[in-house]
């Protein structure tokens, strides 16, 4: 069980890191969610893996599983849930306002050019990027 558990944390972390480094917002959101899943499993495992034990001390049974990591995971899940929801809305807003879903917004907006009269070459390049 330990190996399976460790492998699933490792795979999710690796996939999460890979996706987070992508250039479009949707894979980044997915990557951050995968990282959150991985860290939840990791926190869970930090109370040591045990099967069939109660989390509240029960005199009938021989031991108990550590309840604290479960509380931590619960908190972490709620926070990650809220953050992911926020990030998705923000990514949608960015897509609507910047015209594409690139994390850097690709083309420059009119109001961020230091030069008030942009050269025609730059603007035609931006247009082509919008069309493609």
């Amino acid at each position: 069980m330990e190996i399976l558990f460790a492998l699933s944390i490792a795979v999710m972390t690796a996939a999460g890191v890979f996706l987070t480094l992508r250039a479009r917002t949707f894979p980044v959101v997915l990557g951050l969610s995968l990282l959150a899943y991985a860290v939840n499993l990791f926190l869970f495992a930090m109370g040591r893996l045990q099967v069939g034990l109660p989390s509240v001390i029960n005199p009938v049974q021989g031991g108990y599983s550590d309840p604290l990591p479960q509380a931590l995971v619960l908190t972490a899940i709620v926070i990650a849930f809220g953050m992911t929801a926020f990030l998705i809305v923000l990514a949608l807003k960015a897509k609507a306002e910047l015209g594409n879903d690139h994390v850097d917004g690709l083309h420059q907006a009119q109001d961020e050019m230091a030069d008030p009269n942009p050269s025609p070459r730059a603007s035609s390049k931006a247009k082509r990027e919008i069309q493609s």
Partner: protein
């Protein structure tokens, strides 16, 4: 007396909820509650600082649970000091936001502002590592809202980067917390410190890795060298009042390093003592130079100020990395200066942006702004202060830090980094000042109608610190020295937390 450390938490939280409920009654009611709450918070925090100077650290056990089992809040001199700075900064930023009508740009400004204060105060007060994570998330979520307040594509783009990097930071934080709990079986900072001191050599590797992971997390918050690129964009695109309030956000990262690493990896930690110090020193020196280059290369004033924030944070980090009570006292003195002056500059940049119309704060020649002489003189004052020229507070702060660095083995590097970056900053600020105020086009077409400089009280309050810190340098330095000395006696903190006995409760019975 007993419930004191809890008040700075509950006050902004309740105010935030109340403001949310008062939405149907219009903005005026929300403004009143918000401002009164911040003023009460300021008075309360000043009183707490005064109180904490006379006593040992105070503990507040939430739910009356004993220390390693329940979450505790700890009020010591450092946290009280940070609380006072936060409240002062918040009252200035809120006043500016009210006068500039920043809160009309979107919904729920005051709610977010109060929750932001709740998160910051919580991060300063908590004595539990996981609780620190929770308060980080609270202050981050509020800061996302404040950063995006007012809308606009540039804010959205900067906000996307800010949110993404902070989510990565949160994930790393959880990994580090999990690893520490897995090895040490506790999350209370004082208890962690005690257990790290008794750690067998075979398990030191994991704890060191977790400690350095925590360092990365706090470095993201404090914007240290490899992970600082989110800051200039985020701070330069948001509204002035929010940028001013965010001047404390980087200091939350610094406080966390001081508190967590100072306690966990302090002198008593055996083989793990000071694992973060070398990283801190060299990264802060590198980021100081990178920030100075950023100040030189900036194309707009607000971007330049954001890089100035970075430079001052790096100077502060170098002072902490010197690791002596003297250097820490100098660093805390510099912290007051850098927070207030940087915030004041952000507010000043708002006036300049408004005065220059379409050219905004870009470094290009434009028609002269109205009241250029007044704004220009204030700019010169602030620039002198932040670049560290005598006779203002930046000079005092940097001088004290350099004096404390004299005995450090790497003194030559610290000196050259601080002096070279200061020189670059002076050159860049002189250039931007002359571009903004002297290199003007003939005023045939006024860029904008003259309008009153709204929120002057806030700018005055923040920039006055440049002068007050010099006039009252001795008492203020005495205060920071006291705080630094208490921080270098961690056994006081440990004893307070670990020897705390819960109050007897006659109504609580253990179930047989």
């Amino acid at each position: 007396m007993m419930h004191l450390p809890f008040l700075p938490l509950i006050l902004p939280l309740l105010a935030g909820i109340l403001i949310l409920l008062l939405k149907p009654f219009g903005l005026a009611a929300q403004r009143w509650i918000s401002f009164v709450s911040v003023l009460v918070l300021l008075g309360l925090n000043l009183w707490l600082l005064n109180f904490s100077l006379e006593v040992n650290p105070q503990i507040y056990a939430l739910g009356n649970w004993q220390a390693p089992f329940g979450i505790v809040l700890v009020l010591d001199q450092l946290s009280a000091f940070m609380l006072v700075i936060t409240a002062l900064l918040a009252s200035a930023a809120l006043w500016f936001a009210l006068r500039q009508n920043t809160d009309r740009l979107g919904a729920h400004f005051h709610v977010l502002f109060q929750i932001q204060l709740f998160g910051i105060n919580g991060a300063f007060l908590t004595g539990d590592l996981f609780n620190l994570f929770v308060f980080f998330e609270v202050l981050l979520l509020a800061s996302y809202g404040l950063l995006l307040h007012g809308g606009g594509r540039l804010k959205t783009r900067a906000g996307l980067h800010y949110v993404a990097i902070n989510l990565i930071g949160s994930t790393l934080f959880l990994f580090a917390v999990g690893a520490l709990y897995g090895i040490l079986g506790t999350l209370n900072m004082a208890d962690l410190a005690v257990r790290i001191a008794q750690l067998p050599a075979s398990e030191q590797g994991v704890v060191a890795a977790a400690g350095l992971m925590l360092f990365v997390v706090f470095a993201i918050k404090a914007a240290l060298f490899p992970v600082y690129l989110w800051l200039p964009n985020a701070y330069s695109q948001t509204t002035a009042a929010v940028a001013a309030l965010f001047a404390i956000m980087t200091k939350v990262g610094i406080y966390a390093i001081l508190r967590v690493h100072g306690l966990l990896f302090g002198e008593q930690a055996g083989a793990l003592a000071g694992i973060h110090l070398d990283w801190l020193l060299w990264l802060s020196l590198i980021s100081m130079l990178m920030a100075a280059l950023g100040v030189v290369a900036a194309k707009a004033l607000r971007q330049q100020i954001a890089y100035l924030v970075l430079a001052s944070v790096a100077t502060l980090m170098a002072a902490i990395a010197i690791n002596s009570p003297n250097a820490l006292a100098a660093g805390l003195f510099y912290l007051i200066h850098s927070t207030f002056i940087a915030a004041g500059l952000f507010l000043l940049a708002q006036w300049i942006t408004q005065g220059r119309g379409a050219t905004a704060d870009h470094f290009i020649s434009a028609p002269a702004m109205p009241k250029a002489i007044l704004i220009g003189s204030v700019f010169v004052f602030a620039a002198l202060a932040i670049s560290g020229m005598p006779p203002l507070s930046g000079f005092m702060g940097k001088f004290l830090i350099l004096q404390a660095a004299l005995l450090h083995p790497q003194a030559a590097w610290i000196f050259s980094a601080i002096l070279v970056s200061s020189l670059l900053i002076i050159i860049a600020l002189a250039r931007s000042g002359s571009l903004l105020f002297y290199n003007v086009q003939p005023a045939e077409s006024r860029a904008s109608e003259p309008q009153p400089l709204a929120g002057a009280n806030a700018v005055l309050l923040l920039l006055a610190s440049g002068l007050l810190l010099v006039i009252f340098a001795q008492p203020i330095f005495d205060l920071t020295e006291l705080i630094a000395n208490q921080l270098y006696q961690p056994q006081l903190y440990l004893r307070t937390v670990l020897e705390f006995a819960p109050l007897a409760n006659p109504y609580k019975e253990l179930v047989p």
